[in-house]
């Protein structure tokens, strides 16, 4: 049983420790005795390569403007078809910050210019320039019932209903009414600072603005991703005292 992680643009999109998410998934899977392989998906990799069929978990992190510019054409032209089919057929994926934004319909900059997204999920992102403050700070949110009541998530959840992390984004995301957010904000801006939603959850695809890295203190989500990817009904427990303490401590951090 092997966890094969497709890590998109690892060198271009690793703004701030997001690669830690891949490390965490790898370690948590290995500690349960599973083999793990990480395939770097770069502009040079064709999604028609045979190795791509082995992927059971996809990860893409956030990046600086220069990184996003460098991969954008390749993503839209050569990777979209794969991602569209993968996500719509229940493929397991985690998309952080800029990568999350790109799953949507478009990104509108402060100067009015519009960048097409992958148009896989029905939402858009807008940057309001100097009219709105940047969304930065510690975040505490409560996961949406869609995830909390998911039977597989319940089976691996040892942490409860909270999600913690750190956000740092200028763009504000607005989900269409039929899309479920990942969580509901208790502290922080979340998607747009207005509707108290954070991230998106669509089938087994998670999008979020949270760094930390995201999975560092949200081990319940890490385990959900692993169990879903390997199609397992449950996972053996790991020694997670430090993580539980860290998660709890994070809930008390000032925004």
């Amino acid at each position: 049983m092997k966890l094969t992680i497709g890590y998109f643009y690892p060198h271009l999109l690793n703004l701030y420790g997001d690669r830690g998410n891949v490390e965490i998934l790898k370690v948590r899977a290995q500690r349960r005795g599973f083999d793990v392989s990480v395939i770097e998906i770069t502009p040079e990799v064709s999604m028609k390569d045979s190795i791509i069929t082995d992927l059971n978990l996809v990860f893409m992190g956030g990046g600086p403007d220069s990184g996003q510019k460098a991969m954008y054409k390749d993503l839209i032209k050569n990777k979209r078809e794969f991602l569209y089919t993968y996500i719509n057929s229940g493929g397991v994926g985690l998309f952080i910050c800029g990568a999350y934004q790109l799953l949507g319909n478009y990104y509108k900059s402060a100067d009015g210019s519009v960048l097409d997204g992958l148009r896989i999920l029905d939402f858009y992102t807008e940057h309001f320039g100097l009219e709105a403050p940047r969304c930065v700070g510690n975040v505490v949110c409560k996961m949406d019932l869609t995830l909390l009541e998911n039977p597989l998530f319940s089976a691996v959840n040892k942490l409860g209903d909270s999600i913690v992390g750190f956000e740092n984004h200028g763009g504000r995301t607005f989900l269409s009414s039929d899309l479920s957010p990942l969580a509901h904000i208790k502290k922080g801006f979340g998607n747009n600072g207005k509707d108290f939603t954070e991230g998106v959850l669509y089938r087994n695809c998670l999008g979020t603005y949270l760094h930390g890295p995201f999975l560092s203190k949200n081990s319940h989500i890490a385990d959900f991703l692993i169990a879903s990817a390997l199609k397992l009904p449950q996972l053996t427990n790991l020694e997670d005292d430090l993580i539980v303490t860290a998660h709890t401590a994070s809930k008390k951090l000032k925004q």
Partner: protein, 393 residues
């Protein structure tokens, strides 16, 4: 005009008074507040002709190495018998530079210094350059740029654009640029500047060997200080003498005896400095039994600690093997989780947000005599205060 002169001197007086109050009431060391107050009252304080440096000003910036390079250069200039003003506290925003200038302004003698050597925070560099651009000679030393405190700067790209614009505007005939050759990012800044440029890199090792500094990353810091000293007209002979008598800047490889143990402090505030330190320890097989990580998320540290996952995983694991590990600071548990994902065993009772609690534990342990402390910025200041018994900043 008379009003303006009065306002300036009133500001200096009030600022000096505030420093006295701050230090008397033990609220701080006056390395930041007096300057903060003064700039609020008189925003163009640094531009004032009173703060004239006869031989010019040197501004040193970059993600890592500012304090060490500035300390080295100051020591070199002092050895060459120049009078120097230097923000040795490491307070490197405008308020820190202003505080240093105010401290060196004597009530009846005024201000007199030949060279100003200032380490400057990366985002503050444009403001500092603007303030000192009328100096008879301005030297800019740009060391490196990597991700640091991303919640403040959020991208290096933006810092680079700021620096490019600054270099385009600075007077080329009185400004001298000193750049690190081996960084594409730093070397690319040359295209924005029309004046004299000198480069340094890590190929020359002989100057580094004159010092008692450890770590390959310090080769660049030494070479930057040497080339700047030479550009100020200081002879190689004087420079070498200065290098051999140089004592490390606080918190950068500093050894502090405490109770019956020796604590070595190595500032590790971002992935680059962390990895550099780990490489040094692994190469030089430093003999320590205990490692004390301290991670804070106060404003000067950057509030997002995600960067700890950009520390080299294997180096962290190899270095921590067979050592007693303690983890402190406001984000102690984040660091402990990171270490455990790197395969480092961390006992839950060795993790605590209270540094003094952990220091008590460490000093009570008989199985250790050498402790390596790897703190980030405010953590280093706090740990140092506990170990040395007094504040720096």
């Amino acid at each position: 005009m008379l009003y303006n002169v009065d306002m300036f001197y009133m500001t200096l007086l009030l600022a000096k008074l505030s420093k006295f109050v701050v230090t008397f009431l033990r609220l701080g060391t006056g390395a930041t507040f007096p300057g903060y107050l003064a700039l609020k009252l008189y925003p163009k304080l640094l531009y004032h002709s009173t703060f004239a440096f006869k031989q010019g000003v040197v501004l040193i910036s970059g993600t890592n190495g500012k304090t060490t390079t500035a300390s080295l250069l100051t020591h070199i200039c002092l050895s060459a018998k120049y009078s120097v003003v230097h923000n040795e506290t490491g307070s490197n925003l405008l308020r820190g530079i202003a505080s240093e200038l105010i401290a060196n302004f004597k009530l009846f003698k005024g201000f007199s210094a030949e060279i100003g050597v200032f380490e400057v925070d990366e985002a503050t560099l444009p403001l500092a350059v603007a303030a000192f651009s009328t100096a008879p000679h301005l030297t800019l030393v740009l060391l490196n740029l990597s991700r640091d405190q991303l919640d403040r700067y959020w991208e290096i790209d933006k810092l680079i654009s700021m620096w490019q614009r600054t270099l385009q505007k600075v007077p080329a005939n009185t400004t001298h640029l000193i750049l690190y050759k081996n960084s594409d990012v730093i070397a690319s800044l040359a295209t924005s500047f029309k004046g004299d440029i000198h480069y340094f890199d890590s190929s020359e090792k002989r100057f580094f060997k004159e010092t008692s500094l450890v770590g390959n990353f310090n080769v660049c810091n030494v070479n930057a200080a040497v080339i700047t000293g030479k550009s100020l007209g200081i002879s190689e002979e004087v420079i070498c003498r200065a290098l051999s008598s140089f004592k490390v800047a606080y918190g950068r490889g500093e050894s502090v005896p405490f109770k019956d143990k020796t604590f070595k402090l190595f500032l590790a505030k971002n992935p680059a400095s962390f990895n550099n330190n780990l490489t040094t320890f692994l190469e030089e097989s430093t003999s320590v039994e205990t490692v004390f990580f301290i991670l804070n998320d106060n404003i000067p540290d950057g509030r997002d600690v995600s960067w700890i996952y950009d520390i080299d995983l294997d180096k962290l694991h190899d270095f921590c093997k067979d050592k007693q590990i303690y983890v402190g600071g406001t984000r102690a548990f984040d660091m402990a989780v990171r270490l455990s994902y790197a395969g480092v065993f961390v006992a839950l009772d060795s993790v605590n947000t209270s540094v003094s609690f952990l220091l008590d534990k460490i000093t009570a342990s008989s199985s250790t005599s050498n402790v390596l402390v790897l703190p980030n910025y405010s953590a280093m200041l706090h740990a140092r205060e506990l170990l040395v018994g007094r504040k720096i900043l």
